[in-house]
């Protein structure tokens, strides 16, 4: 095959890739675009599917933000997602590190037990969680919303895999230098896996920010609703006001974006190998 033909074929393949990626990108961006556009529309214009509103207005934002409930739910979601994220970053790492770096009897069994819970879908866990929350008196409380997610098998697994890439020399050097085991974990091992920690923090924050089923089930008082639960109650209680729902949803995506922007650079930076040979 001549070089020209090879290039032509590669060019064709690239064109196909571009088209597919573009289609995928559009499919993902369009709903978002509609969400923002609807949030800028006036009620009379909502069913007019033009992407650019004819008379853009910020009235919906004023309405939503001046409704105390929305801010309360926003705050609830923020608080719950933040606490759960911090908890995961700390405890998943602690367990993952222990599983990755210490030899002890039953280590493999513990790991398998944790891993096996990955295969149980949330829908199946909701009932046992509910029974547990009821028996402990955690129903309709912040702790009730948070407790199932304070540690996750996925996070533990992820952190274990990353800690395994941390060379033992680092830990042993610190051990010889006289650090205790917790300080080694905290001052040496954790900074070496910041990319993984950022990824874990993003995943955890997002999944808790958007969590719907469990907060819906465990809460009954409106003051404890998280944002997704609150927004859906918006939708059912009055006649459906799409422009307001879309405004709420648009506001709800903001923290997601902020979290991603704040943490993404850590994901890209691979620090682990820098202290080693090479």
């Amino acid at each position: 095959m001549s070089a020209g033909a090879a290039q032509g074929r590669a060019g064709f393949g690239r064109a196909i890739a571009w088209v597919l990626l573009l289609a995928g990108g559009l499919a993902m961006v369009l709903p978002l675009a509609f969400m923002f556009s609807t949030s800028l529309k006036d009620a009379s214009e909502v069913y007019d599917l033009r992407l650019l509103p004819a008379h853009p207005t910020l009235d919906n934002y004023v309405t939503v933000l001046s409704d105390g409930r929305f801010l309360r739910w926003f705050g609830n979601s923020m608080g719950v997602a933040t606490v759960v994220t911090l908890s995961n970053v700390f405890f998943d790492s602690l367990v993952g590190y222990t599983l990755a770096k210490f030899e002890f009897r039953g280590r493999y069994f513990v790991f398998l037990a944790i891993l096996s819970t990955l295969m149980v879908p949330t829908e199946m866990l909701v009932i046992p969680w509910y029974v547990m929350a009821r028996n402990f008196g955690w129903l309709d409380s912040y702790w009730g919303i948070m407790f199932p997610g304070m540690m996750t098998a996925f996070g533990t697994f992820l952190m274990k895999q990353f800690f395994e890439t941390v060379p033992n020399d680092f830990l042993e050097a610190a051990r010889v230098d006289g650090l205790n085991e917790f300080t080694i974990f905290w001052r040496i091992a954790m900074p070496l896996v910041t990319p993984a920690l950022s990824a874990l923090a993003i995943f955890t924050f997002l999944s808790n920010w958007t969590a719907f089923i469990w907060p819906l089930i465990v809460t009954t008082s409106k003051e404890l609703y998280t944002l997704p639960v609150g927004l859906s109650s918006f939708a059912v209680e009055q006649q459906i006001q799409w422009e307001l729902i879309m405004t709420g949803a648009a506001l709800a995506t903001l923290p997601t974006l902020l979290v991603f922007l704040a943490l993404q650079r850590y994901i890209v930076r691979g620090v682990v190998m820098a202290g080693l040979k090479g």
Binding site: D169, E172, L179, L192, V271, K277
Partner: protein, 354 residues
Amino acid sequence: MAGIAVERLVKRYGPTQVVHGIDLDVQDGEFVVFVGPSGCGKSTTLRMIAGLEEIDGGEIRIGGRVVNRLEPKDRNIAMVFQNYAIYPHMSVGENIAFGLYTSKLGKAEKRAKVEEAARILGLEDLLERRPSALSGGQRQRVAIGRAMVRDPAAFLFDEPLSNLDAQLRAQMRLEIKRLHQRLGATIVYVTHDQVEAMTMADRIVVMREGRILQVGSPMELYERPADVFTARFIGSPTMNVLPAAAEGGGLALAGGRVALEGGAVPSGGRVLVGVRPQQLRVLEAGETADLLLSGHVAVVEPLGSETFVHVEVGDQLVLASAAAKAAPPVGTAVRLGADAAALKLFDAETERAL
């Protein structure tokens, strides 16, 4: 500073024993190098001294104190690793200061120590840098700095130069040796490179398969190796070892003979004759020597100051030296000779020196 004593030290990994009861006394201020092929248990031994591995038998004393059950942090030793193990998320200065993490010194004193170490190691201008911006040699210096600031009872080095290129290795050898002279520190140094052992050690410990074969100064090991393994391991290029049989007052080899006085070997006994390439010369016509071999030149390796020739003697390749400018061309028939004083004789069965 303190000496280190090891007695009947044993290590097992599951059913396999990897260190078989070794004994060693390292004097205060001594530079001892463990040398041996990869997998012979050098690192394991060093790590047991550091407390990073539990011991399965025997005793370790540092400065006269039994440390068998002590955590690494309570042994007051410093260790430098092959991969440097300097922390990538800290600057050079922070890395060196990390050696003082648990020290009770005041801030100013710590600072002074870090600066002194940096000055000795030539790192003053790099204190703010990240490790990723350093060369391999600089990284290893940072690791040494981190060890130095602690004033430990002893330094342990595990193949610290193995990741460096040959030139840098030679330079760092010199620096570590000078550092030892300057600090008067007790050093236990592990390497698989006999050149490092020869050039730096006060005493060399030759290890093989979890046992100590021989302990001695570099020159002792070079001149009086206790067995074939040490003889071949120490010295470069490798010593020639040729099988021979005692015969009528001398020794007969494939392609040659040795004239020996006074029946050093009982008649009919089988031995191994060792001769270093530097002492096995290409003979001029008519010249004679105690050991005589004849064969054909297979390969010529000029090194500038001297030239090594590989000669096929019988079915064995023998390495000999020739004057730099008078090396015989490939294919010529040559005679090789060495003095009896330069020969090492080993028992063919036990491979121990006779």
